[in-house]
C-alpha cells in the first residue's frame, strides 16, 4: 500500500513548527519568511533541524533555494517532495494519508 503525505496536514505541521518550535510569532501560511524579517540566517539552520526531526527528512546543500523556504506553502511542497522521494525514514502518522 502506498502512502502519500497529505498536503494540508504537512502544511499545518510546518506552520505549527514555525510557531511553536521556532517561535515565529505572527507567522501565517502566507507570510514571506525572509521579506517579513521573521527569520535570519541562524533561524534557517534551526528550521532545517526542526524539519529533519519532525518529518525524518534530510536537508542538503542541493536543496537550498530561497523559493523553497519562502513560506509555509513552499516549505510544505519541499517536505512532500522529500517524503515522496524516500527522504523520510519514519513518516509521522499525522502527516500521511493512506
Amino acid at each position: 500500500m502506498n502512502v502519500s503525505p497529505d498536503r494540508q496536514d504537512v502544511a499545518q505541521t510546518v506552520l505549527d513548527c514555525l510557531r511553536n518550535k521556532l517561535f515565529l510569532d505572527g507567522v501565517t501560511v502566507d507570510t514571506h519568511l525572509i521579506e517579513s524579517g521573521l527569520i535570519d540566517s541562524v533561524g534557517f539552520i534551526r528550521m532545517f533541524v526542526v524539519l529533519e526531526e519532525e518529518f525524518g527528512i534530510e536537508v542538503t546543500a542541493r536543496d537550498l533555494s530561497l523559493e523553497r523556504f519562502q513560506n509555509v506553502g513552499s516549505i510544505s511542497r519541499f517536505v512532500i517532495e522529500k517524503l515522496e522521494e524516500g527522504g523520510g525514514s519514519e513518516m509521522p502518522v499525522d502527516v500521511v494519508r493512506a
Binding site: I34, D40, S41, V42, E52, T60, A61
Partner: protein
C-alpha cells in the same frame, strides 16, 4: 526596521567599533583596537575601505569586516580577493534582514570598484542563508581533531621548550616564537595541487604572526637544513585550557615522515584541550596516517544541520565580471583551490 543607515567605516567610528566588537573579539578596548589596526590597517593587501557599518540613529548595530587575502592564480599572477569576516549584528537586531542589507550594500560597492569576488571562509550558521542568496560553496571538507588532557596550568614560553627528535625522521624539531625565512621559502617550493593558492611569502607570515589577539606556535624540523615546519594558532583571549581549539594552520615537510613527526609533536605539545586541522588538501598518505597520530576525522555528512561547523569557502561574484571568459571565472570550481596555508582561524 527600515531606519537602518549603512555606511563605510571612517576613523571617527573607531571607538564605536572597538566597543561593539567586544561581542566577538573579546580583547577589551586596547586589544580590539590593536586587532582592528592589524586586520584592516596593517593588512598588506587591503585597507579598511570596505568595512561596513549599520546604524540605527547614532547606535552602531551591525558590522561586516572585509580584509584582504592574496592569491597566486595561474594565468593571472597575484590577485587580491577580499574576505568577509568579523560579522556582528547586535542582539536586538538579529532575526531580521540587517545582515542581508549590509551585504547587499557592500557587494554594490565592490561591483562599482570592479572587485569581482567576495570570499568567506565560513564555519558559521550564516552559510545556508548565504547559499540561498546567490553565494557558491566549495566544501565543506573534513577536519581532524584530537582531545587531550590539559594540565590546568599555563604553559611557559613556547620557545623555551626543549627540541625533540622526530621518531620517524630523526629530524630535530624545535619550537620557535616566530616564523623564520625558511618557512615561506619551503612553501614557495611546493608542488601545488590547484591553480589558486594563497601567497605564502615573508610578508604574509610576518603579518599573520603580528595578530595581537592570537598566539602562534611554530615548529621547525631540521636535518642538514630545514626539512619541515608547522604553525598552530590559538586565540589570545582564551586560557590554555579554555574551550577554543588550537588550530594547526599549516604543516609542510619535504617527506611524509617529517610531516608526521611535526603533527605528532604539535598534538603532544601545543596548549588547548582540542587540536584541530583542515584535511582538505592533504596527500592521501598523510590523511591516512592521521589516526596513528592521535587525530580523528570528522567528514561532511551531507546534511546542512550536521555540517554547519565544518569549514567551507563560500564566495559570491559581485557582478563586476561576467561570463566564462572573464578573469577568475573558474573560482567556483572546487578543484582549482589549493587551500594549504589557509585556515579560517589563521586569519582570526
Amino acid at each position: 526596521m527600515s531606519d537602518y543607515r549603512i555606511t563605510a567605516y571612517a576613523p571617527r567610528h573607531r571607538n564605536a567599533v572597538v566597543e561593539f566588537q567586544q561581542m566577538l573579539w573579546q580583547g577589551g578596548a586596547r586589544g580590539n583596537s590593536a586587532y582592528f589596526d592589524w586586520k584592516f590597517g596593517d593588512n598588506p593587501y587591503l585597507d579598511d575601505r570596505y568595512v561596513t557599518l549599520a546604524w540605527q540613529g547614532s547606535e552602531l548595530v551591525g558590522m561586516l569586516g572585509v580584509f584582504g587575502s592574496y592569491w597566486e592564480v595561474d594565468g593571472h599572477g597575484r590577485v587580491m580577493l577580499p574576505c568577509l569576516a568579523d560579522t556582528v549584528v547586535a542582539p536586538a537586531h538579529r532575526g531580521g534582514p540587517l545582515f542581508g542589507r549590509m551585504l547587499g550594500w557592500l557587494v554594490d560597492r565592490l561591483r562599482a570598484d570592479e572587485v569581482p569576488w567576495l570570499l568567506d571562509f565560513g564555519d558559521q550558521p550564516a552559510g545556508p542563508a548565504m547559499l540561498m542568496s546567490g553565494w557558491t560553496a566549495v566544501g565543506p571538507w573534513p577536519v581532524a581533531s584530537a582531545e587531550r588532557e590539559v594540565s590546568g596550568r599555563e604553559q611557559g614560553a613556547w620557545d623555551a621548550q626543549e627540541a625533540v627528535r622526530g621518531p620517524r625522521s630523526g629530524a630535530t624539531i624545535t619550537p620557535l616564537a616566530n616564523s623564520v625565512p625558511e618557512m615561506p621559502a619551503m612553501a614557495a617550493k611546493l608542488d601545488t595541487r590547484g591553480s589558486v593558492r594563497v601567497v605564502r611569502d615573508e610578508e604574509y607570515f610576518r603579518w599573520r604572526n603580528a595578530n595581537p589577539l592570537a598566539r602562534y606556535f611554530h615548529l621547525v624540523a631540521e636535518s642538514q637544513g630545514t626539512v619541515g615546519y608547522l604553525i598552530a594558532h590559538r586565540t589570545a583571549v582564551d586560557t590554555d585550557d579554555g574551550p577554543t581549539p588550537t588550530t594547526i594552520v599549516e604543516c609542510e615537510a619535504l617527506d611524509d615522515d617529517v610531516w608526521r613527526d611535526l603533527i605528532e609533536t604539535a598534538v603532544a605539545t601545543v596548549p588547548g584541550k582540542v587540536v584541530t586541522m583542515w584535511v582538505r588538501d592533504l596527500a592521501p598518505a598523510r590523511e591516512q596516517s592521521l589516526g596513528s597520530l592521535g587525530l580523528s576525522l570528522t567528514r561532511p555528512s551531507g546534511r546542512l544541520s550536521q555540517d554547519i561547523h565544518l569549514p567551507k569557502l563560500v564566495m559570491r561574484s559581485t557582478g563586476a565580471v561576467d561570463g566564462d571568459s572573464a578573469p577568475l571565472s573558474t573560482l567556483t570550481s572546487p578543484e582549482v583551490w589549493d587551500l594549504r596555508g589557509v585556515s579560517g582561524r589563521g586569519w582570526r
